[in-house]
């Protein structure tokens, strides 16, 4: 089970392991992205992420964020729309710096964060599943890691946000 958590907050978190301010593309403040590496859920809004997403030394980046309202009901990871989005992410000709889906339980798609630092690719496959937004994040919270080898999209255990890929 992943021990990495992320949350979008209105103000900095006093105990986050990494965090940075978020901005709209026109520069307006859009809150903070906070991250924790711990077993227990740190704040009510937190969702599990692939731990490789979090890097306190990571540079500023553009984020494609999908953060569906869990009260509205979440799609299962096995839903064809979510499966197809993962396939599209693996197939992309312009791989992101990093990507993680998000979890609030063992089996439902609770959003995604896609990190890019090079040329922006205005196509987030996960934003075709649930509404998405693009924000700028400051340095000090998200890192970089390559996409999984593929073509595997199903992973061995639950409670591991894709693409985390080992037992």
């Amino acid at each position: 089970m992943s021990r990495a958590w992320v949350a979008m907050l209105d103000a900095p978190a006093p105990d986050a392991d990494a965090q940075a301010p978020l901005e709209e593309l026109d520069g307006r403040p859009a809150g903070w992205l906070a991250a924790w590496l711990r077993k227990a859920k740190p704040v009510r809004e937190a969702r599990r992420a692939d731990p490789r997403l979090i890097d306190a030394d990571g540079a500023a980046a553009l984020l494609a964020i999908v953060w569906p309202d869990r009260d509205r009901g979440l799609l299962a990871f096995d839903d064809l729309a979510v499966q197809h989005a993962r396939r599209e992410m693996l197939r992309t000709a312009a791989p992101p710096d990093a990507v993680s889906t998000l979890l609030v339980d063992d089996s439902h798609f609770a959003g995604s964060i896609t990190v890019r630092r090079g040329p922006w690719v205005d196509d987030d496959p996960f934003a075709r599943v649930e509404p998405g937004r693009v924000l700028h994040v400051g340095a000090g919270v998200v890192g970089a890691f390559p996409l999984p080898v593929g073509p595997v999209i199903e992973r061995h255990g639950s409670a591991q946000p894709w693409p985390w890929e080992w037992f």
């Binding site: 396939r87 000709a93 390559p146 996409l147 080898v149 593929g150 073509p151 595997v152 999209i153 199903e154």
Partner: protein, 169 residues
């Protein structure tokens, strides 16, 4: 990598090469804990490779739900491999040995093509420790594995490495 020659005997060498996105990757990292098809191919320009890749692309729908990986390796530059991969609709990792670092160490140089100096078309099915379960020499197209042969190999490796192949009762 300093070893002069890596003879392919029982275990495939743990190659380290840039992937189609230009990031350095290690074969053992890509294989992870899964049975994996490791395919050495000549290059994007070879019609035999294009035909064989269509076979692999068909197989990827099964591999992606069966915890089985595919890795393709050639002397194509990373950008060329990325374009070829995108055109095929492949969702697995392509590695680029454009410096021909591993060609001779693996004893997989196609000596009859002195223009491109490519890899001999060769397909391995390996287990998570890179032990070779099967090898197919594809210099002649009919030497390459059929999709059914690959399924049988992946089934055999999966059965050998998954302790719960017989469902827990």
């Amino acid at each position: 990598m300093t070893s002069p020659t890596q003879s392919i005997a029982d275990v495939l060498a743990d190659l380290e090469l840039p992937d189609h996105a230009g990031r350095t990757r290690r074969l053992s990292e890509l294989v992870g804990g899964d049975p994996t098809i490791v395919q050495f191919y000549r290059g994007w320009w070879c019609p035999k490779e294009q035909a064989f890749f269509r076979r692999l692309v068909e197989l990827q729908d099964e591999a992606e739900v069966a915890y089985s990986g595919i890795v393709s390796i050639s002397v194509d530059p990373a950008a060329t491999a990325a374009a070829f991969r995108a055109g095929l609709g492949a969702r697995w990792t392509f590695l680029s040995d454009s410096e021909r670092t591993w060609l001779d160490r693996l004893e997989l140089r196609e000596t009859t093509d002195t223009l491109n100096n490519p890899y001999l078309p060769t397909v391995f099915v390996v287990d998570p420790d890179l032990r070779i379960h099967s090898r197919y020499d594809g210099y002649w197209f009919w030497g390459r594995p059929t999709a059914e042969e690959l399924r049988q190999d992946l089934r055999a490796v999966t059965r050998a490495i998954r302790p719960d192949w017989e469902p827990p009762r």
